[in-house]
Amino acid sequence: MTMLPKQFLLGRPLRTAQMGETLLAKRLALPVFCSDPLSSVAYATEEILMVLALGGAALLHLAWWVGAAIVLLLVVVVASYRQTCYAYPGGGGAYVVSSENLGPTAALTAASALMVDYVLTVAVSVVAGVAAITSAFPGLSKHAVLLPLAFVALLTVMNLRGMKESGRAFAIPTYAFVLSIYVMFAFAAARMLMGHTIRAESAHLSIHATGTYAGIGLLLLGLRAFASGCTALTGVEAISNGVPAFKKPKSRNAAMTLLVMGVLAITMFVGITILAMVFQVHVADDPTQLGLPAGTSTPTALAQIAKAAFGNVTVLFYFVQAATAAVLILAANTAFNGFPMLASILAQDRYLPRQLHNRGDRLVFSNGVVLLALAAAGLIVAFDADLSEIIQLYIIGVFVSFTLSQAGMVRHWGSKLTDATDGPGRRRIRRSQAINALGAALTALVLVIVLITKFAHGAWIVCIAMPALFLAMKAVRRHYERVAEELKVTPDARPERPSRNHAVVLVSTIHAPTLRAVGYAQSMRPDTLEAVTVAVDPAAAERLNEKWSAHEMGVPLKVLESPYREITRPVMEYVRGLRRESPRDVVTVLIPEYVLGRWWEHILHNQSALRLKARLLFTSGVMVISVPYLLDSALRREERFGRTAAGEPAAGESLTSV
């Protein structure tokens, strides 16, 4: 019964040997890994205009320069990451590259930055996608928090099903989005060539500047607009991270996909920015700045552009909005691929709990997927799904990891250079190193800009979260190391027999489980064997004693005094006493228990044996053996679920009181 919904949602479990089937062809890898950078063009332009609008309409022309800077940055970053794809065919995420070239501290910094940003990617993309929906259907804007959460849940389920199938599902919206944007460009170009003057619906709105910006202030505002626009760069590292998921030749295919992604992202970003400038789109974070009443929900910049470009062909406008919403929501999928993979690598290096390295039924890192979904949902709720608030936290992590990874690549080529001897090989390496050095320098510069311009606007939260994550991972690693140190054995260590084994069967009354436990204990042939009961009620103990002789148990029955009517303490004291007498002996405690099949039956039975078991676990030199006795209800349960739930442990077991 518990398995059916899971199977329905996630599909049949896959065998480990079916692993290879989750490899991606290029045309599927593009939407899976690139929906994030491609979709961020949907809001990058808007974020730039919004920041510039703070300085009034006169400053909007700065968008040209900001856009040009972002395009330059994109070219450099894509070129740099193509180098990484070739150098690390086993997956060259920032963590791997920096741990190999810069050491564990840099690697952990990159990892914590990436993890924070993956969570933000999900939150930002989903919220932006919902904004696209509410732009088309303003009636839905009152569900602005609920809708993103629903989409996060949907994405979680899809990703738990596995990568290839999700890749197929994501291919259509991503390609539809790209297509719709190009159709929009063509439409707008054609209409403008025919002599139409196209203006956005907000073109007539005047922008009230919140202050006058000149000199340093102007520069800072420009830089802040640039920092906001840098959202277009997120997710570029996803491809280099996921090189192993590509079909062979992995590195070539990954680098090719990265190039295609770069071309698409740049052309779409440039096109949208040009149209926004030509159509005179006016947007502002605060509607009062545009002379609108406070609380008015304004359509996104892209929605205004699409509406203006298509004029009265509203079908195409809705098509653009639908594709935008779909691709944005699916962009979160990039994080759903990257985060679990990164978490599993970290878990393998013992920086995160090991469960994150386990592959689930469908061969995906299920725990990582669920963790990411929970974190993103928490963020959406905490920020009330306000895009311009969340976006302030974004980007920092991306650029921290960009910088570290590119710096690591420079080191990587440096060490390669000492191995290479022939002229052409050295020249090739020199060229790669130069590209990565340029990338490192530029991304470091952008990181500083982003930090300065966004810190006061909310980025400080990230500046706390990242070090906190860093320290937590260090602590996890220390814990695992300490445990490993304690568990370590020397090469000459051999199994050592305890000098004697004292077996103790806990008895409360004489019934089938007791007989089975006593019989089993006898078959173990311990050095001493006795049954122990606690005399909470002297009359009952007396009766038990009589029956004990009548059943010819063949084992001495010891009755323990319980001056305070407890069960756990007398048993614990007795077992500890046995241990004190001869510390090199072991004590085996056998607990007869009957197993119930239904959850409500558990309420009717005493759980004192369970408590006792937990206490005995913390006593050294004591082995606890459960001797189960399956009741009818448990047997029927086994029959019912035996086939589907093979290997699944019984949901719970109840114990006889001792």
Binding site: E530, A541, N545, S549, P556, E561, Y574
Partner: protein
């Protein structure tokens, strides 16, 4: 309660309080037993020597029916708050009144069995249960 907490060792103080709370029940029980012991001519079990004839008093902590070489034997552990002592009645399956929690006075010659003090077939006197 002066509330004079020493700021340099707050953990130690806290731990002592909790330690006392946790240990109290067992210690208290042993303490009660020590006080209960009749002062006249009773030896404390801790002071018993091998082959010595003693009279001891205490509570039966455990009672076991343990056949020895085919012969039934009733075995009990007597505790007076200082040390445990095994009391064995050979040839008996049960004795009315010999049950866990019962206070008895027993006398006989101390023997040693596998490093534990044992009193075989002692002369014993049951002491009343509850209020005296």
């Amino acid at each position: 309660m002066s509330g004079a907490t020493r700021p340099d060792r707050p953990a130690g103080r806290l731990r002592r309080i909790f330690g006392r709370l946790a240990a109290s029940q067992e210690d208290e029980h042993a303490e009660d037993l020590r006080k209960d012991t009749p002062p006249t001519e009773c030896t404390r079990i801790r002071d018993c020597q091998d082959r010595q004839i003693v009279t001891v008093a205490g509570t039966l902590r455990t009672v076991t029916l343990r056949p020895r070489a085919g012969v039934p034997a009733l075995e009990a552990e007597l505790f007076d708050g200082t040390a445990p002592l095994d009391v064995v009645w050979l040839g008996r399956r049960s004795i009315a009144g010999i049950e866990p929690g019962r206070k008895i006075i027993a006398s006989g010659r101390i023997a040693q069995n596998r490093g534990r003090l044992v009193l075989f077939n002692p002369k014993y006197e049951l002491r009343p249960v509850g209020q005296e």
